[in-house]
């Protein structure tokens, strides 16, 4: 089968950028197909800066920005945003905090003014803080019923123990109650608009008027403390170990299995991406899906993913299977990984992976938020805008040898952390054959 000519031969949307007098970098991308606008103010400081014992502080702060300004109460602000048919969200992830407004392009100035007001004039009303905290706590209580979320969070928490990534970005039922509104305000003042912050505007708007408006209206002379290099040292490896979280009411187990991967800017990231398409990320083209779903019928879905982060993110194989097949499923996953590492990918698999990653590349620029996401990822992870242009060509040159090397260097079946949420007593003894087992409630 031939996948034909370079199906990725498409032009990236023009990404204009400017550093305004205040030092802020602004990206603008014109997309005139629909009368819409997506605005993103990105602060390069996120949950990694949560002080010890204060998990969830930066995320709480992000949402507090949207709950009242010096000009408007939370209700007035919500009415203003909804009245424009817009959506407003603020959240922090590991390496960044983002303030996002999506609305109609006819309201550009109104939306931009709101964005500035929300970020630069937050009021931190104490009553809003207490209500928000109670909402977050109630949501965390409810999440204890979601076995997928429990599996994801426990996996990352244990994998990154004793690093800045060892807590859920939303905080925990222990960390949230004692947090104070004043701590939010102090966190905000310390890290307000640090070096490396930037603005992304995508939509039905020309770049030049956008730049002019931002230059004329963006406050200058504000710069908070930078987080610093924040060197990340991965915890030492400790062999295969299993954490079984007992949920006797479940009939199906949620399984997470993996280890710490490599940073997005690592030179082996792209060979790993192509290799992992074949192993676990390529849907029905992946080895894991072929074996675990199509051949064995153990699950509806299985996927291996390497999360792109500034520092090394998790490499995770995620699936679920009925209680009875839980251990067999994990054994088969190991078997697929080891076989893949021994025999490597075939020429055909390499070709197909490359054609998928390059051919589907234009679809990663279809919506305004996707375009913004591409820009903020390369900016935050230090890849440079040119990464977006060279990606298809670079991917197409990756060889079988590079992929094999990447698998040897960065896949570690002998160091897997396994987290299972399910009827632990039914398969505990089986898992003991793999290494130490820890039971958790």
């Amino acid at each position: 089968m031939s996948a034909g000519a370079k199906s990725w031969a498409f032009s990236l949307p023009t990404i204009a950028s400017l550093i305004i007098k205040s030092g802020l970098k602004v990206y603008a991308v014109q997309r005139p197909e629909l009368p819409l606008l997506s605005l993103h103010l990105i602060i390069p400081c996120g949950a990694e800066a949560d002080p010890p014992g204060k998990a969830g502080l930066s995320n709480l702060l992000a949402e507090m920005l949207t709950l009242g300004t010096k000009k408007r109460s939370a209700s007035q602000l919500a009415a203003e945003v909804d009245g424009l048919g817009a959506t407003l969200s603020a959240s922090s992830v590991w390496n960044s905090t983002s303030l996002h407004i999506f609305g109609l392009s006819e309201d550009f100035e109104h939306l931009m003014n709101l964005l500035l007001e929300i970020y630069f004039q937050p009021a931190f009303p104490p009553e809003e803080f207490e209500q928000l905290k109670q909402r977050r706590i109630a949501a965390l209580v409810q999440q204890k019923d979601e076995s997928q979320i429990i599996a994801d969070e426990r996996f990352q928490e244990i994998l990154f123990r004793e690093t800045p990534y060892d807590h859920p970005v939303y905080g925990t039922l222990d960390s949230l109650p004692p947090l104070l509104c004043e701590e939010c305000r102090e966190f905000y003042q310390r890290y307000i608009l640090p070096a490396g912050s930037f603005l992304v505007v995508v939509g039905d708007l020309q770049a030049e008027p956008c730049f002019r408006w931002v230059e004329a209206n963006f406050p200058s002379g504000i710069q908070g403390q930078s987080l610093g290099a924040g060197e990340f040292s991965a915890p030492s490896r400790s062999g295969v170990r299993s954490i079984l979280i007992d949920r006797p009411d479940l009939t199906q187990s949620q399984i997470r299995l993996g280890h710490i991967g490599i940073p997005h800017a690592h030179p082996d990231y792209l060979p790993f991406e192509v290799m992992n398409y074949i192993l676990g990320a390529g849907g029905f083209s992946s080895r894991l899906m072929q074996k675990i779903r199509s051949e064995l019928g153990y699950t509806y879905g299985i996927r291996g993913s390497l999360e792109p982060r500034k520092h090394a993110g998790p490499f995770t194989i995620s699936t679920f299977t009925p209680t009875e097949t839980t251990y067999s499923c994990v054994q088969e996953i190991f078997s697929v990984i080891r076989s893949f590492m021994t025999h490597g990918a075939t020429h055909q698999e390499r070709e197909e992976a490359i054609h998928f990653l390059t051919g589907s590349y234009p679809m990663k620029f279809e919506t305004l938020s996707q375009v913004a996401q591409r820009i903020l990822q390369v900016e935050l992870h230090g890849l440079g805008l040119e990464y977006l242009t060279i990606y298809p060509d670079r991917v197409s040159t990756i060889t079988l040898e590079e992929m094999a090397r990447s698998a040897r260097m960065h896949l570690h079946p002998e160091e897997m952390l396994i987290v299972v949420v399910g009827r632990a007593e039914k398969f505990r003894r089986q898992f003991e054959q793999l290494g130490p087992v820890e039971m958790m409630a």
Partner: protein, 445 residues
């Protein structure tokens, strides 16, 4: 060849980003809709069948969805899952979904690869290979999917119970994924029969949206589907649901951290003019942080979540559907109190007219959300395909935005009084129990 332009009967679409669809019917009855959009060199190829769980009968519930899975298991030429592998190897993404009213297959891929998608979709419409070896693992895959979506999800079984109680006769009373005993018993012969009856050219709509030339697309579709024989449309009698004449209630007990209730009101099907005012009503109650439910329940921490929803275009149901209102209680409030307060809030809609400002707000929200949904080729295609399958006319998609604009405060009050009556209401409450009680109640499946 008869070609009809979508806007011919109702005036040209004013909406930027919504293409003008061209319609063509092959001699065998296959309907083709093509929308040219040249913003990116990609195309969405979709085949929508008038096959959903509404066409099933007791004993074979879930066959529509299981059969959707079987469509990936190979043809006379292709091995199992080879369809997916080939599309992906050509830069495409693909999937399928089954609902109460339609089963839809799609490939989003580089525009230059369109013919490949047409050829492969036509091949599996004609030459699907159904074998016991492919059915058995797929049956277990679907049972695993059922466990994921229903049995082990916090509210999945509760919602199944809600539909089973609200409907007494219509097939919407069983879940799209089917009941587990039926999934265990479905046979290869059931699958063959389903394929024979429902998978035919006149029972399908092909939609193509993207960087293509319409005349070339029509030639390609003709090339791969033109030789297929027509066949009569399935003759099925779908039982009509009778009017509900009093509130129905049930309790569902399971291990849970929270108490909750899920309620449903019968509302009309997709072509009825009351649906848009009802959608506006849902937005008044729960769209955004200035909505009534957020202000009254979520903001002060009485509830984790309170929502009113009944789908959005094009996902309104073909036959009379359900407007759902659900609330997940915070530990600080009893479920009875929360439910009483929610109904008090809903009653206000039937008693007091919306202010012009509030109506203006929800109209702008509805317009903005609709425009946002048009960002992808895929969704543009869904709009046309599902309006054709569910409402019988894809041109209705052009009426959505004008319909939002036409809603006035009286419409909202009227539909609130007409549909959100206690007599038309079904409520299922989630009552948390201990693990021991949970086990005493028997295994869930």
């Amino acid at each position: 060849m008869t070609v009809v332009r979508s806007s011919a009967s109702i005036g040209k679409s004013e909406v930027r980003g919504l293409p003008e669809f061209i319609e063509h019917r092959l001699a065998n009855g296959l309907r083709v809709l093509v929308g040219e959009v040249h913003s990116l060199p990609v195309v969405s190829y979709q085949v929508h069948f008038a096959a959903g769980s509404r066409y099933e009968r007791p004993g074979i519930t879930g066959i529509t969805h299981l059969f959707e899975h079987m469509m990936f298991k190979g043809t006379k030429e292709l091995g199992p899952e080879e369809f997916s592998r080939i599309i992906q190897a050509n830069g495409g993404t693909l999937n399928a979904f089954t609902t109460t009213d339609n089963t839809s297959y799609y490939e989003n891929l580089p525009a230059a690869k369109l013919e490949l998608a047409v050829r492969l979709e036509a091949d599996r419409l004609e030459n699907l290979r159904l074998t016991p070896e492919s059915l058995e693992p797929e049956r277990e895959v679907v049972r695993s999917e059922r466990k994921l979506r229903s049995v082990n999800s916090p509210f999945g079984l509760l919602i199944e119970q809600l539909f089973a109680l609200a409907y007494e006769q219509h097939p919407y009373r069983w879940p799209v994924i089917g009941w587990d005993p039926d999934l265990r018993n479905l046979t290869l012969e059931d699958c063959r029969e389903y394929y024979r009856v429902h998978y035919s050219p006149p029972n399908a709509v092909v939609v193509v949206v993207g960087d293509v030339a319409a005349d070339e697309v029509l030639r390609t579709v003709e090339k791969y589907y033109g030789h297929m024989a027509s066949q009569p449309l399935p003759r099925l009698t779908i039982p009509k649901e009778k009017s509900q004449r009093g509130e129905k209630r049930a309790i569902f007990k399971k291990v849970s951290q929270v108490a909750a209730f899920f309620a449903a009101f019968h509302v009309p099907g997709i072509t009825h003019p009351d649906l848009i005012p009802l959608q506006i009503l849902c937005a008044v109650l729960s769209a955004g942080r200035s909505s009534r439910f957020f202000e009254k329940f979520e903001k002060p921490g009485k509830a984790v979540e309170v929502r009113a929803e009944m789908g959005y275009p094009p996902f309104f149901t073909m036959d009379p559907g359900l407007l759902q209102i659900y609330a997940i209680a915070s530990p600080s409030i009893s479920l009875d109190t929360l439910e009483r307060e929610v109904w008090e809030e809903v009653e206000i809609l039937g008693q007091e007219l919306l202010s012009p400002e509030e109506l203006l707000k929800v109209k702008k929200q509805s317009r903005s959300y609709f425009l946002q949904s048009l960002e992808t080729m895929f969704f543009k295609g869904l709009l046309a395909g599902l309006y054709q399958v569910r409402a019988g006319d894809f041109r209705l998609l052009h009426t959505i935005l004008p319909s939002y604009e036409a809603v006035n405060p009286d419409d909202v009050t009227r539909v609130a009084r007409k549909y959100l009556r206690p007599e038309n209401r079904t409520v299922v409450s989630l009552q948390p129990v201990s693990q021991r009680e949970h086990e005493e109640l028997g295994e869930v499946e």
